[in-house]
């Protein structure tokens, strides 16, 4: 479970979780060098032991035992961790800096002890091993372990959130010791990656092959509020612009729900031949991503373009309602409470490409396609759900020409040159396709869209599927 990796104090390590690479930055010490390793991604995909959501914390394993060992090699230290229950280690939860999420690197750094990652979410972290290993000695490498403290058994979220945030008691046993009666990872933080840090002059330590020039700009660690963050002259602020209500041209709603033994969006299985949504390039859209119930968690991953989070609401009272799981009774979620202010700042600001939908949750996002036309997908990133057809196509189309040679403006008050419910000529929205194939879908009327702050988005932007009669021959 724990991948071995050799680091070196005196330099910063930037961990790019879920991108499956590690790279080093800003070594201000004598040996400028870089080293790359790879972590497997047991936590980036869905399997039954590590699920939708994971919380990562970096722990130090103070090497008391190692100091008594004659040899400080990795092999010895790894065995001593895994082999003996009696040898307890002091486990200390460490600070690290977070400098980005999903699609964006911030110029500031957010100091934190743990972070929550849904599948497909990424976090860019900076760990200062030089500060952590000030008293390191030759021949006595120090170890750090990145652990997941929120394991889960099925797609309905972590059942038991393990206490972290500096509490060393949750790691009373070495991480990688298998339990006797049940898998250890089900009730204990999972060690994902181990760092062994050597003194720079340690002959056992790693050798570096590349010299790399690093950005010398300082990283500013802060613990500020969102308002304070907004004042910082950051990369984020320079290029980032919130999509205002008046810019939204189309509102669409997508309900993610289990159905017919598989997984559906808006009551429909994925069909690669359909264009389920056709945004116009350059126009902003608001998408209501809605959890259809059943207690499942759905990390919704949207390809092609990053999006902004507008609101994040949850109906807590609905959690107590037993979901009968039968269409068309999607829970109306009338008592939604906005909880985006309770999210950590990194979950709110900037650009994202994955929103995790917990039970009875509605996320309202805004997205503006800028670049490519053609079909792209968005899907639940729980891979079992994705494979079982919880995926939709959206197909950005080029803005129509106004006839005078200029392409159509993005002013939402100009009548739309395209029908947001109409697919490009090569594709269709699917009703007639499904019917001509001989198998009709069950009739299902969507419940009304949750109240939107967008007033001028037009009416009936979402194609309503009504029961259709088979066309007569």
């Amino acid at each position: 479970m724990i991948r071995k990796w050799r680091g070196n104090p005196g330099r910063l390590a930037t961990l790019s979780l879920n991108r499956q690479r590690i790279y080093f930055a800003s070594p201000a010490v004598s040996r400028k060098s870089t080293s790359a390793g790879a972590i497997g991604s047991p936590f980036s995909q869905n399997n039954s032991t590590v699920g939708v959501e994971a919380r990562f914390t970096l722990y130090a394993k103070c090497p008391r035992k190692l100091q008594r060992k004659s040899s400080g090699s990795i092999r010895t230290s790894a065995r001593s961790i895994g082999g003996n229950h009696a040898d307890r280690y002091d486990n200390v939860c460490l600070d690290y800096l977070r400098i980005g999420k999903d699609s964006w690197l911030w110029k500031f750094a957010y100091r934190m002890k743990s972070l929550v990652l849904a599948m497909a979410n990424r976090a860019d972290l900076v760990v200062d091993f030089a500060a952590l290993c000030k008293d390191i000695k030759i021949g006595q490498p120090q170890q750090f372990v990145l652990v997941n403290t929120m394991p889960q058994k099925d797609g309905r979220g972590p059942k038991q959130k393990l206490v972290d945030g500096g509490d060393p008691r949750v790691l009373s046993l070495p991480f990688d010791v298998a339990g006797q009666d049940r898998p250890a990872e089900l009730n204990r933080p999972i060690g994902l990656m181990k760092f062994v840090v050597y003194h720079p002059d340690d002959p056992e330590g790693p050798t570096y092959v590349d010299d790399v020039d690093c950005d010398s700009q300082p990283i500013v660690p802060i613990n500020g509020s969102e308002a304070e963050l907004a004042q910082l002259p950051t990369v984020l602020n320079a290029h980032h612009r919130n999509i205002e209500d008046s810019e939204v041209a189309v509102v669409r709603e997508f309900i993610f729900k289990r159905g017919k033994g598989a997984w559906q969006i808006n009551g429909r299985f994925y069909d690669p031949n359909l264009a389920n949504a056709t945004p116009c390039v350059g126009k902003a859209e608001e998408w209501v991503l809605r959890n259809g119930g059943g207690g499942w968690w759905h990390p919704i991953h949207i390809h092609l373009e990053s999006h902004q989070l507008v609101t994040y609401e949850k109906d807590f009272l609905a959690d107590g309602v037993i979901d009968d799981g039968l269409n068309p009774d999607v829970n109306p979620l009338r008592r939604r409470i906005p909880i985006q202010d309770n999210l950590p700042v990194p979950e709110r600001i900037g650009l994202h490409d994955t929103q995790v939908l917990g039970p009875n949750t509605v996320a309202r996002i805004r997205i503006r396609t800028r670049t490519f036309t053609g079909p792209f997908v968005f899907h639940c990133h729980n891979l079992e759900h994705e494979d079982m057809r919880m995926m939709f196509n959206f197909e950005p189309i080029a803005p129509a020409s106004t006839g005078d040679g200029n392409s159509e403006s993005c002013d939402p008050h100009v009548p739309l040159p395209w029908d947001p419910n109409l697919a490009p000529s090569a594709r269709s929205h699917g009703n007639e396709v499904t019917w001509s194939d001989g198998v009709g879908e069950l009739p299902w009327e969507f419940p009304p869209i949750p109240v939107t702050p967008v007033t001028d988005a037009g009416v009936d932007q979402i194609q309503r599927r009504k029961q259709q009669t088979r066309p007569t021959e």
């Binding site: 309905r156 017919k260 033994g261 069909d271 799981g325 057809r389 198998v439 879908e441």
Partner: protein, 217 residues
Amino acid sequence: MAWQAILQCLTVGQNGQVTPSSSSRSDSFPNVPLVDHFGRSHRFHDDFIAPGNAVIINSMYTTCRGSCPATSAKLVELRRKLWPVFEKQLTILSFTLEPQIDTPKVLKQYAELYGVSKPSDRLCSWLFLTGTQQDIERLRHGLIFYDLNPKVDSDPTQHASLLFYGNSTTDKWAAMPSELPTQALIESIRRIAGLNFEQRYGITPDTSRKAIAQASN
């Protein structure tokens, strides 16, 4: 005495007390006794999950007015279109979710509606299976035709549109809703349940000595 010892080992293995180190997905399929619509007795794992045999499995019940008729109609089409690919190597298995109502006799009548009343030499084999309630439940859970929500789980219409397919030789298994376009289903069934290169990809690999020599260069 030797064969008795072997039999004993097998029995222990099927009870799950001895788990082989290299277990395959199909090992978890229960070996329940079932009766097909011709009245013949079968053991599910022994007879259908045999090496060299690909299967498409779905659940149904004859009184279903929801998705079962559509699924069965889809299987009629798949049965015809997959015959040139698989011939006798593919078996379609439809097991009933209401075994107390769907006796072999009832299933025979249902099968006649879809032209499965007698074996055909131009269509893939298709069997409708029933058994005791307990065995059907075991089969359903072994094949993951169930829902974690007990209310949904008790509603048979929720399980009736899924096709589960694969073979134990390659031990690849997958499930797709039967409502998908036939072409998408055929493509996926060939890729997953195909026993050889030709069945999976629709082209014959060039195994001539010249081609192998070129590939190795």
